[in-house]
């Protein structure tokens, strides 16, 4: 029997998902030429396209017909909002438009690199993983500061670029804070896939989705829902390899705090979460874990092990010299 690895299974599930995916988008009347399909997610299919006017490759995402038909105006508005987010960790939206068949597309920078979920296998260092996580938090915090909540944060939506940059992708499910919800646009959707927005819709990915998102009440979703998803991502990032040690108690406390069921009990911002992660990485105490005396002594010894070793070496040498 043919062996199919997880990546191939995921690809097959994507490309044979529904009939709409079979039909390549008709890009006549747009400045773009279709090159290849890059992948398919819950919300749409991403193609590699050629921008004739600017002579460059771009990523062109075609929103699934069932989502676009109901919420086209919101897709366009959110794409425009995202286009204003200029941050090195956020893949910018260049353009948005409508295909002849009514499907909505938006055009993003073509990113070369590796998805975080795949890149983790070649990233054994915990400090390196935490560093990546902090950069993700920075980008998300920037979006929050501009009133945008991602709502579908997960390792698959983070790309590590060829030059070490960390990029948060797929802002198509984002919500602009302060927007009034659009009641009654669609009925509850228990699919677990990622539609766009609207009251009563389930948005996000099981396992990463905050409880208030899972309830489908978009009015309750704010930046703290992203904090929950970041906590779920952190849990993935710090999971030790098979046969490795345990996750440290401070990190476990950070994850638990970020993933608290009630938004009020979570970190209020992605910045606050990132700060605690940085402190844990640097061997400092974290805000959500009260360590005992032994843990504190152990942490300080680890943190200051180099000067401590130097002092001990110096003292040992003095003792030896005195004895001679």
């Amino acid at each position: 029997m043919t062996w199919l690895p997880d990546e191939t299974l995921a690809h097959l599930r994507g490309v044979v998902g529904d009939a709409a995916a079979d039909a390549p988008p008709d890009l006549r009347g747009t400045p773009y030429e279709l090159r290849e399909m890059l992948g398919r997610g819950g919300m749409g299919t991403v193609y590699l396209a050629w921008d004739r006017e600017l002579a460059r490759e771009v990523a062109l995402k075609v929103v699934h017909a069932e989502a676009a038909a109901a919420l086209a105006h919101r897709v366009v508005r959110e794409a425009r909002t995202l286009a204003r987010l200029e941050h090195p960790g956020i893949v910018p939206v260049h353009d948005v438009g409508e295909l002849p068949d009514g499907r909505i597309y938006y055009v993003m920078k073509r990113v070369r690199g590796e998805r975080l979920d795949a890149a983790l296998r070649a990233m054994p260092s915990l400090a390196e993983r935490l560093g990546v996580f902090e950069r993700i938090c920075e980008a998300v915090a920037f979006a929050h500061a501009h009133g945008v909540v991602h709502r579908d944060l997960k390792p698959e939506n983070v790309m590590l670029g060829e030059f070490g940059e960390t990029l948060v992708l797929d802002w198509g499910a984002a919500k602009t804070l302060g927007d009034a919800p659009a009641p009654g646009l669609l009925p509850d959707d228990a699919s677990g896939r990622t539609p766009i927005t609207g009251h009563g819709m389930v948005i996000g990915t099981p396992g990463y989705m905050a409880p208030e998102q899972a309830r489908g009440d978009s009015a309750d979703v704010d930046a703290r829902a992203d904090v929950y998803s970041l906590g779920a991502m952190l849990r993935e990032l710090v999971r030790p390899p098979e046969g490795g040690g345990d996750v440290s108690r401070p990190l476990r406390a950070i994850i638990a705090h970020a993933m608290a069921p009630s938004p009020d009990e979570r970190y209020p911002t992605a910045d606050a979460l990132a700060e605690d992660v940085r402190r844990a990485r640097d061997g400092e105490s974290v805000s959500v874990y009260r360590e005992n005396l032994f843990e504190r002594a152990g942490r300080l010894m680890m943190r200051y092990r180099v000067p401590l070793l130097l002092v001990l070496t110096y003292l040992a040498m003095r003792v030896v010299l005195l004895l001679l």
Binding site: M1, W3, P5, G42
Partner: protein, 255 residues
């Protein structure tokens, strides 16, 4: 027969294991059918879909050594057949795969408690299954995480998809569509980490227009999806369960 074979306790299971018999309806209700051939087909279908998930679950979630896992796999299906456990499944309470996995966990727990009392190869009939192949696949998998139900489901999906690829290959060759399948294989079944060939490169390689490549690819995907759904329907208990599983697998409108 160790390693390559699994013993089963009933004559319902003596041929054809490892591949899905052709069926377009659920076989769960036929597990206790009075007609021997119908019953045999139901069990063949069930085992073809579930033996690898069962074996891998024992190896990864229960950390059972290889030879013991082979024995426990055969014992599990044999006892399920003898004891009528699976026939007692109630579709109102759980999905079939969840029920089967819970039965398996209970069986593995009891076997662990009675360790040493389980006799190997005690059953009378043998069913050829590719245990070495399953063992090679385990090398590609991570140890089971906390969500055992999801891991079990993933292995069921892998079994359904792997079988569908083999069936699609056979049907394509029989229908004179070897090139179409080759394009599907090159584009959608490429090795992990490999870059996908471009449509233009495939068009050049197979000496057809690029539009033909995309058309054939779309046709192969539709056939593949139809085969997967056919298999999924066979190993789910009810139409509702099938629709929910298909929805989760392929999204809205899949079934």
């Amino acid at each position: 027969m160790r390693g390559d074979a699994v013993s089963v306790a009933a004559d319902a299971l003596h041929t054809g294991a490892g591949r899905f018999p052709i069926t377009r309806h659920s076989v769960i209700g036929a597990l206790d059918a009075s007609d021997p051939s119908e019953r045999r087909q139901a069990w063949d279908t069930l085992i073809a879909a579930y033996w690898k998930p069962v074996y891998k679950h024992l190896r990864l979630a229960w950390n059972v050594p290889r030879e013991d896992a082979e024995d426990l796999t055969q014992e599990f299906f044999a006892r399920a057949l003898e004891g009528g456990v699976l026939e007692r499944f109630d579709p109102d309470k759980a999905r079939f795969r969840t029920y089967l996995r819970v039965c398996l966990d209970r069986f593995a727990s009891n076997a662990r408690k009675a360790e040493g009392r389980l006799k190997r190869g005690g059953a009378s009939e043998h069913l050829s299954l590719d245990f070495p192949g399953a063992e090679r696949e385990l090398g590609h998998l991570r140890a089971a995480g906390a969500d055992v139900d999801e891991a079990f489901r993933q292995e069921l999906i892998r079994a359904l998809f792997s079988d569908a690829v083999d069936v699609l290959r056979e049907r394509s060759l029989a229908a004179g569509k070897a090139t179409q399948f080759a394009i599907f294989e090159r584009y959608d079944l490429r090795p992990t980490g490999g870059d996908a060939p471009t449509y233009a490169a495939l068009a050049e390689e197979f000496d057809v227009p690029a539009t033909q490549v995309t058309n054939w690819l779309a046709a192969m995907r539709r056939s593949f999806r139809a085969i997967v759904l056919e298999r999924l329907r066979a190993v789910t208990a009810t139409e509702d369960e099938f629709r929910v599983e298909a929805h989760e697998l392929f999204g809205p409108g899949a079934a």
